[in-house]
Amino acid sequence: MLLLLAPWLVGFSVFFGYPIVMAVYLSLNHYDLLSPPRWVGLANYRYLFTIDPQVGTAVKNTLWLVAILVPAQVLFALGIALMLARARRGVGIFRTIFYLPALAPPVAATLGFVYILNPATGPVNALLGHLGISGPLWFQDPAWAKPSLVVLGLWGVGNTMVIFLAAVLDVPRHLYESAEIDGAGPWQRLRWVTLPSISPVILFAVVLGVIQALQYFTQAYVAANIASGQASQAADVTAASLGYPQDSTLFYPVLLYQHGFSDYQMGYASALSVVLLIVSFAVTLVIVVNSRRWVHHAGAIR
């Protein structure tokens, strides 16, 4: 028994329990990795909540992801799944095509999109130009950088779409038949049969989306790095590029990375991570407490 659990018990203590306790301790210190930690009490938190102007920006940008990116991805995936469920022919091939981009490694996908949405010569703006529309500056414009990340996010929505499609196809046929007998049109069938039946899966997708939004890093880091390099044509831009352009892609994890691993302010980065821990824990708690309810729902469908 203990033998089965031993590796995980060790792993849990070393890679989960210890760092969380240690993060709280470090957050009360000034620590740059070179000299030993120096106790500063709540100074890091005071700076975080009242002085650091970037925290507000990072929180706003992260909330933007929760409010725009997550719903956009869920609705888009749902729309495609619903259309796929109605298709008579070619479901398999369509499903493969829509799923494929979700597999593309995030770094590679982001690189591809920075090129495709390249304002001057990228194919999207070239196409828009042929239609007489002058396209936006995409990743180069603070107002368009986040929407560009949404475009990238919608392209990679395949996982959610596959889950939705499976759920939609699982809705018992007789529910639709009786609804039809009652005179329900397509919209009413969608509203009163399909959506309630798959609501647990939708909730699951939203929850997963929020959790991923809280840790959104790779795409932001790569897009900012490549786009800023493109603009300046300088060789070494990594350090200055975080959040490019003008902190519009400075999400909370990017800020944490900047303080911890670009400036080596381990104490302040720990304070940032403790705040993130509390927020994620609150979100998680809400989910776990409610999970019984929707898992039960899921059981009831089948």
């Binding site: 989960f16 095509i97 770094v107 831009v237």
Partner: protein
């Protein structure tokens, strides 16, 4: 009525086809650009003229793709092996054995599943720095050897579906729990174990944040994703070669997908419906 249905079906299919083209277009643009000359990649022309096939040779001279691939494979193979060996027993214990604190442990797995890696990253970085392992891939490989929350969760869900009679039959034959696990359970759970291994491979192949943290300063140990992200700034390389490298990094995942498509879609569905 029938006419209307037909029109709706046509509209539905037209929309699907349009969406499919939009989903495939980025792949096509990346592919076309990877075959252009540098001057052409900087123009707004769509079609390569002439086709610059040598880009796929040049890209290996511009960047140590072989070295990066080796590093990625080291991370993927060692990580996935350790993850399976450590996660299967825990998942089995959580699914089929009765002991005090089991539900609490499962709750902890769920919480661990949902917390961002950024939460624990600072103290862990300090720990690995003290062990002089920053700059290597060990800080991302070793934690896999001590159980992975997502895999434990997925395997547990599958183990719950194995009928108790199979296990009892083995126990009556005098097998201990460890033998029951290594013979009966592992054999029955092959599809789930394969799915977990597949997900782990993909995760390690695509992983960026932690490898960047630990190997960022040491190009010798960069896995593919870090190398690719630094590709342009490294040599001021051209877009055509960057897109060729991008395509090469996408290719293995897509090939694996077509080889194991069924396991994939089933695995993804399992994560969602049983969630």
């Amino acid at each position: 009525m029938r006419r209307k249905r037909f029109l709706v079906a046509v509209a539905n299919h037209s929309f699907l086809i349009a969406a499919a083209i939009a989903f495939l277009a980025p792949f096509l643009f990346i592919m076309l650009t990877s075959l252009m000359t540098n001057e052409q990649a900087l123009s707004s022309r769509f079609w390569p003229h002439p086709f610059a096939w040598h880009n796929f040779v040049d890209v290996f001279h511009e960047a140590p793709l072989g070295r990066w691939t080796f590093n990625t494979l080291e991370y993927s193979v060692l990580g996935t092996l350790g993850l399976l060996l450590s996660s299967v027993p825990v998942a089995y214990a959580l699914a089929r054995l009765r002991f005090r604190g089991r539900n609490l442990m499962f709750m902890i797995v769920l919480v661990a599943l949902m917390l961002p890696p950024q939460v624990s990253v600072v103290p862990l970085y300090v720990m690995w720095a003290k062990l002089h392992l920053v700059g290597t891939l060990w800080p991302v490989i070793l934690p896999n050897w001590f159980g992975d929350a997502f895999s434990i969760f997925l395997l547990r869900q599958f183990f719950l579906t194995i009928p108790e009679e199979y296990l009892d039959a083995a126990r009556v034959d005098g097998l201990g729990e460890l033998r029951v696990l290594s013979t009966v359970v592992v054999r029955l759970a092959k599809p789930a174990i394969a799915a977990v291994a597949l997900f782990s491979f993909l995760y390690t192949f695509n992983d960026f944040f932690l490898p960047l943290l630990y190997t960022g300063e040491n190009p010798h140990n960069w896995p593919l994703q870090i190398g690719l992200s630094q590709f342009r700034s490294l040599h001021q390389v051209q877009w055509n070669l960057t897109m060729a490298a991008t395509l090469l990094v996408m290719a293995p995942v897509i090939v694996i997908f077509f080889l194991a498509q069924k396991a994939f879609v089933e695995g993804v569905t399992l994560t969602g419906v049983k969630g």
